[in-house]
Amino acid sequence: MNDLSALLGSHWLLTALLAVPVLGAIVCGLVREERAKHVALATSVLAFGLSITLFWTFRTQTVAIQNFVSVPWVERWGIGYTVGIDGISLLMVLLTTFVMPLAIAGSFSYIRQRQRAYYAMLLVLQAAMLGVFVALDLFLFFLFWEIMLIPMYFLIGVWGGERRVYSAIKFFLFTAVGSLLMLVAIITLASLHARYFGFVSFAYNDLVRLPIGRATQFWLFGAFALAFAIKVPLFPFHTWLPDAHVEAPTAGSVILAGVLLKMGTYGFLRLAFPLFSHAATSPAVVSTFITLSVIGVLYGAWVAAVQPDMKKLVAYTSIAHLGFVMLGLFALTQQSVEGGILQMVNHGISTGALFLLIGMLYERRHTRMIADFGGVAKSMPVFATAFVLVALSSIGLPGTNGFVGEFLILVGAFRTHPLAVFIAATGVIFAAAYMLPMVQRVLFGELDRDENRDLKDLGLRERLVLLPALVMILVIGVFPQPFLDRTAASVEGLLEQVETRALRAPVDMEQGDAFDRLPVLGLDE
């Protein structure tokens, strides 16, 4: 039994979590066309099982990184295979492994062509996303961050809708702009580390100890923040999102909304805040980001309200929701950050479920226009029930998960930014203003179109796909404590670290003033 718990607490769990989807992808490529989906589903369920183990063995009382391992990879460059989780990454990992089986099972009837490639891409995507959340080496982080683009590019481009090529390339280039500058910043960080400590390292644990001059911090923070803000997406970097969401196949939208957007907010928490604490907590930066977040909340809600296309509507709600999350993160209080993290999970579940529901409707009617529906509740009662519940969770009705997250964010942020909270809180009202009319026009009213009269209600597979999401919406809504417990210590540690590092950030030195210039990388002799 001891051996077992040692194994479960070890990094092997994380390594297996990364390896399982990759192996699954390879198997997908080898089996018969119609078997691929079963392989993919089995793989993702297995990965979910592994992450559940991670959840139960997680020690809640410590800020230490758990399941940690560091194996040298490119030793001369100080790059290692360094992975580990804390409370923040734990929830993100769980979210990924939770959403993935739903996305895969939700594609069973939607994807009819090139299934092997499709499911292999999904699994590679999963491995890359998990990699981003567990990597504790900046090189490794960047590697996963970039690799993730390729399967998503193919998912949108091959299996997407009408304007798939445009959306795929737009998604790719937008994300790449930010990440390339982040690459230069990462290399600069490693170079600074080599100058200060005499050896080069890309390890997160080494780099967070590095004192970075105040002016330098702003440049480096800017490079990281751009990459993350595009990914979130923060207003005004959001223009790729509606296109990508609308054109992607259902599973692509689910994953985009469910997990991919969280990589941006996670990046702020994991890297941008602790590494560049001075820049990240400086009043100018904080007020800029909070303003942009609040604009995002309102803008997302307003634009969503006038969308005729359900998928596009949901895409814009993502901008609003992520605005809330960003508000929570940049308010930098214990409650708001915890709320932000929980809201990341909530948004993943509710928006993912919304995209699944819209996908199911689309498979039946081949349209996503709100105007084409009406009275669907009469022909599809089960669907309607699920849709209402998910929509309410998206609005943030008490009793659902959305309420807990938004409430924590608003309460936490109120202490530091009352005005921003005041304005953002109106976003909750607007949320009702865009979501409820959509629900009403699609589900209720007259069943005046013949096509809608004999829509078949959800089948067993579809019900099974939705069930976990619905359960989680209620569980987190009523009983969020297990999730908050797991993030509490990590958030506290993070905030403490940010505070001390912000105070201790040195004033910039003249080049070559304090340290001799050492070569960054050299011979290993």
Binding site: V63, A64, I65, F68, S70, P72, W73, V74, E75, R76, W77, G78, G80, T82, G84, R114, L136, F142, L143, E146, I147, L149, I150, Y153, F154, G157, V158, R164, V165, A168, I169, F172, L173, A176, V177, L180, L181, L183, V184, I187, T188, A190, S191, A194, G198, F199, V200, S201, A203, N205, D206, L518, P519, V520, L521, G522, L523, D524, E525
Partner: protein, 509 residues
Amino acid sequence: MNLDFSSQVHFLLALLPESVLVLTAIVVLVGDVFARSGQSGPSPAWVRWLSLIGLAGAAAANFWLGGLGPGPATQMIALDAFRILANYILIGVALMSLLFAFDYLDCEQLNIGEFYFLVLTATAGMMLMAASRDLIPLFVSLELMSLSVYILVGIRRHDPRSSEAALKYFLMGAFASAFLLYGIALLFGATGSTNLALVGLEVVSAVEQGNVLLAGGVVLLLIGFAFKISAVPFHMWTPDAYEGAPTPVTGFMAAGVKAAAFVALLRIVGVELSEAESTWRPVLWWLAILTMIVPNLVALAQDNVKRMLAYSSVAHAGYLLVGIVSANLLGRSASLFYLAIYSLMTLGAFAVVYQVVSAGESGDGYDAYAGLGWRRPALGALLTLCLLSLAGFPPTGGFIGKFYLLTAAVEAGETTLAVVLVLSSLVAYYYYLRVIWRMYFESGTGEQAQPERLGLAFRVAGAATALGILVAGLLPGPALSVAERAGASLQPGAEVSAVTPPAPVADAR
């Protein structure tokens, strides 16, 4: 055994790999003439095998040379690790070019001894360039390489585009040679020697005196090289020559000629003329900036894959120049590493292009690539991998190479170059991705996967390319250490400050 050049035999031994190649080339040419005895027709199979064996022999000789110590500092012929690695890269380029070309040669009825002869002599010329530590052998070997390649470009005698390309390339090349030769003459005037080590010694005082001859010589030399590596604004011949040349030759040019010129440039500028940094550094800095920005923008507008790849290869010259301008140990090693991986991915990309062409699907336009990834999965996957690597995307060798170059630039304080490098590769993403979307997002004629008609040699070379790109991307450690050793050997006498290996991270927090 240590070569001290006390006897003539030592010269021959020091040039053993090149000698093996030249001997093979002569046997191939003469033997082929007798075997075909005046009839026109394909060469016998042994010509192929002999060429491959010759290249393998050169590699073996190179391995033996690598075991010897570096020779005396003032000798004409370098024996350092830099040359050994450069030789391996160049032999590899020739080998892969030949393997990739077999299908094409059969298809185009170009399977003649002259082709193999010219590839071998061009390779010998390239290797000599890497070995030259004197301006005269440097020029002679450059001409050996260039003349062979001029003919190779025009080897499809009945194709007017091939002849046009050859003529253009020849005229521009002759122009470049003239610049180079004049530069050599001026350098000789300024320093009184053509031996690079002696030139290097004289340069210090010449710089102090503000010698105009020296500055002029260096700049002319750089212009000559800029033509060969096709740096902007001396790149105008590149797209035309690359487009008109038989595609296997294009790959060979893009990889081999560029690699050889860069290796020679690295040796001359980075080491022997390092004291005259003030004369060449601003020139190369601007060349690098222009060569990164211009071709990437122009490539966006191309509607022909071969021309797009030609501009992409020009852009890569810009990235490589960043390594040279950084002018540090890292920059030299990074350039070498990038040259090796660049050769691999360029050869692979051009190889797919001529498979598409020879399949009768007029392959120059983008249309021929529609649905290629589903129709011919292996070919599509190879091209996708090569393009992602050219774009510098993980987990490919191209990413590691760019990362290495960026590190060198950041370390040299050249943040501007680093930022221009990443931003221009962002532009490049678009045109590389364009091919990929053609291949996968659109459906072309016939959806069903067809049985591949690739020859065995092509399969082997394709698999080796893919493997090389992935291994360099995922496990770059060994290749990096070889590149570093070679880069360090370029700097005799300079202290190589050792860097302590990263401390093992004991535990988190």
